[in-house]
């Protein structure tokens, strides 16, 4: 199922389908931080107010605000497919 990344539950993995660019250059920045189509991502940590959320991607924790995370679409993955 496809959905926005920030709708993923904490601790559940998704596969990145698409990273949009809103013209502020954030698209390239996200790319360089490892948010690339096909990569596995997991929201790992919610800040006290619920925004921003830190995502685990390529072994690191990267915090994004909701408005920036909104540019990323993921495909949800059932836990049994993960193998980890």
């Amino acid at each position: 199922m496809e959905q926005k990344i920030w709708k993923l539950q904490i601790g559940s993995w998704g596969k990145i389908k698409n990273v949009e660019d809103n013209g502020r250059g954030i698209g390239t920045r996200l790319h360089e931080l490892g948010f690339v189509e096909g990569d596995m991502v997991m929201p790992a940590l919610r800040s006290p107010f619920g925004d921003p959320i830190a995502y685990q991607i390529r072994g690191a924790l990267i915090a994004l605000r909701r408005e920036d995370a909104d540019l990323i679409t993921v495909e949800t993955i059932e836990p049994e497919d993960m193998g980890i």
């Binding site: 920045r29 690339v36 919610r46 921003p52 920036d68």
Partner: protein, 613 residues
């Protein structure tokens, strides 16, 4: 033999500086890029009779310029004449850090890849096939643990042979996709995971710490406790150091005074003697004695928290508040640094990528009371509790702690308010994107931390402060020496300022004190006390009693407290704001905004109390 010149590049937080410090030791200096505010450190070391100059570039995620630092790094690599680039990456985060490596390879520079922090990677059960990685990339790859110096010698050997090596042409497009995708494929092909349980245990431990430091219930209490603890250590530690320094300096000054007095007998001009001793030397030693100790305690503690990976969690937890005011969560760190020294806080704003948010953080940093004003804040809150709650006796420590906490809360609130104000007026615009890496927790290297923070931050700021204090000493001396109609210029200044001061709930002596403590806020209280001693006959050994005898009441203390918190930055900070923003206009805003804030508070307090009582 020709001196080789290498650049050190890499993502932030990969231990680049650790490697740099390990190689160059103390033979390094930090300088600015011409015309830019980006600082680069350069160091020199000798390996097997070969002199090598190493330039530590700012940590960058990529070569696409998002921030002045990345722009500068790119320019340096493209135009600067260098024999090679050492790219440092974190063994645990290979796939992410290879992105920069691939971008650099596209520039056709001779590159050496140093995979650092391999001990951490092994702890996570990550094994890397370095030979294969070297073949994949067509460049030498060397594993090392920079903090222990493991593998560094092999790295140096590789540096010697790199310039004469032939550039292997590898076609990375075979890996398909764009650079991030290629990086992922290459990393996958060289990494093997040994022990899944190990990784899981390690990550579980980090998440538990994260839940403590960023959880909805625990984040803010732990933060408040840590800040207060750092404060307490700074204040109590500094008071011992200060007392010691004062003794040393008074001996030193006496010694210099004696020598110069001897010279005077042999024809040395008397006025020069007093100018040097009472003007310059006294002011400079006074500033150093009060400024150095808190910084020498605060900055190592701050760097320690930074090194352990806690500070990015603070930015993470507080971002929502700053976001609401159009600012960036990383500003919380620059504010914390501002508690140590506003000049350092302003420089620290470089961690904020977006120019709009960076400016906000620079202009509002002075609203946090630095170490120079902290003793004043402590003194005033103590006096306030004395006046209001228990006249005549020293009040409870707990009450003062609560008051100080409230003061800090007020400063934070004011910072947020003014950020919002700037966001709605002068710095209008869309909120920039926010990305923040939360690095793994690491055990800090205490010795390194103390040494580096003393060298990098404390001495730098101290140097600037002395440069400002010396001429200020001359001005103060002149104000005392030159007189007109039997009154010194200092007295005239206080008398002229009196009506203005009265309007804002203070008096001429206080305002003159604030004005003349421009070189260093620490000078304020001594200046005020000497001012009163000139104007009124009251003599008292107790500072509080002396002030009360000179007309101070609860409202005066409140007004002075407000103005101590919110007025113009000290000269060093003003100069730093100018250097960081590169514009007179923004420097002026940085001076006027806090001053007007303070004046508004004082006027409201004074006239409010006049109307009420």
């Amino acid at each position: 033999m020709k001196t080789l010149h290498f650049a050190l590049a890499g993502n932030p937080n990969v231990g680049k500086s650790t490697l740099f410090n390990y190689l160059t030791g103390l033979r390094q200096h930090t300088g600015n890029w011409p015309g830019k505010t980006v600082e680069v450190a350069q160091g020199l070391f000798t390996f097997r009779d070969q002199k090598i100059i190493l330039t530590d570039l700012p940590g960058t995620y990529s070569l696409c310029a998002h921030s002045p630092e990345e722009e500068a790094a790119k320019q340096f690599l493209q135009t600067g004449y260098i024999d090679g680039v050492i790219v440092v990456c974190d063994g645990s985060l290979l796939s992410r850090h290879l992105i920069l490596v691939l971008q650099l390879l596209a520039l056709k520079l001779p590159i050496l890849l140093c995979v650092n922090l391999i001990d951490e990677a092994e702890k996570r059960g990550i094994q890397i096939d370095y030979a294969k990685l070297s073949r994949c990339l067509g460049i030498p790859v060397l594993p090392c643990t920079a903090r222990g110096g493991k593998g560094v010698e092999t790295l140096c050997e590789a540096m010697l042979t790199l310039p004469s090596m032939e550039h292997a042409d590898v076609d990375y497009s075979a890996y398909g996709g764009d650079i991030p995708a290629q990086a992922q494929k290459i990393a996958e092909s060289v990494i093997s995971h040994t022990d899944n349980k190990k990784i899981k245990r390690y990550i579980a431990l980090e998440r538990r710490l994260d839940r403590l430091f960023t959880g909805p219930l625990t984040a803010y209490p732990t933060m408040a406790l840590l800040v207060l603890f750092v404060f307490w250590l700074t204040i109590s530690g500094a008071s011992y150091l200060s007392a010691g320094l004062e003794i040393v300096f008074s001996r030193f000054n006496g010694w210099v005074d004696g020598i110069l007095a001897g010279w005077v007998l042999r024809g040395f001009p008397v006025w020069l003697h007093t100018l040097l001793v009472d003007g310059i030397l006294l002011t400079v030693t006074q500033v150093v004695a009060v400024m150095l100790p808190p910084m020498a305690v605060f900055f190592p503690l701050f760097t320690l928290l930074e090194d352990m990976g806690y500070l990015p969690r603070v930015a993470f937890s507080l971002d929502r508040l700053f976001r609401g005011c159009g600012a960036c969560g990383k500003q919380a760190l620059t504010m914390l640094m501002g508690l140590g020294c506003n000049a350092a806080g302003v420089t620290g704003c470089r961690i904020i990528d977006a120019p709009r948010e960076r400016k906000m953080a620079i202009l509002t940093n002075v609203l946090m009371p630095c170490n120079g004003r902290l003793p004043m804040v402590l003194f005033l809150t103590g006096m306030l509790t004395g006046i209001i709650f228990s006249p005549g006796k020293k009040s409870a420590v707990g009450l003062r702690a609560v008051l100080i906490f409230l003061v800090l809360l007020m400063c934070t609130g004011m910072t947020l308010f003014l950020c919002r104000f700037l966001h709605k007026t002068m710095l209008r615009g869309e909120v920039s994107a926010f990305t923040l890496e939360l690095p793994s927790y690491r055990l800090p290297q205490v010795g390194q931390v103390v040494l580096r923070s003393v060298l990098d931050r404390t001495l730098l700021i101290l140097g600037r402060a002395v440069a400002v204090a010396a001429p200020a000493g001359v001005v103060l001396w002149l104000l005392h020496q030159i007189s007109w109609q039997d009154k010194s210029l200092f007295v005239w200044l206080m008398m002229l300022l009196d009506p203005v001061g009265q309007f804002f709930g203070m008096d001429g002596v206080i305002l003159a004190g604030f004005l003349l403590s421009l070189p260093a806020s620490e000078l304020f209280l001594p200046l005020v006390l000497s001012g009163y001693s000139m104007l009124s006959p009251v003599v008292s050994a107790d500072t509080e009693a002396l002030l009360i005898a000179n007309g101070w009441n609860g409202v005066t203390v409140l007004c002075v407290l407000c103005f101590t918190l919110f007025h113009w930055p000290c000269a060093t900070t003003i100069w730093t704001i100018y250097k960081e923003t590169g514009s007179l206009k923004w420097t002026l805003v940085g001076v006027l905004m806090p001053t007007l804030t303070g004046l508004c508070f004082c006027a409201l307090l004074h006239w409010g109390s006049v109307l009420l009582f």
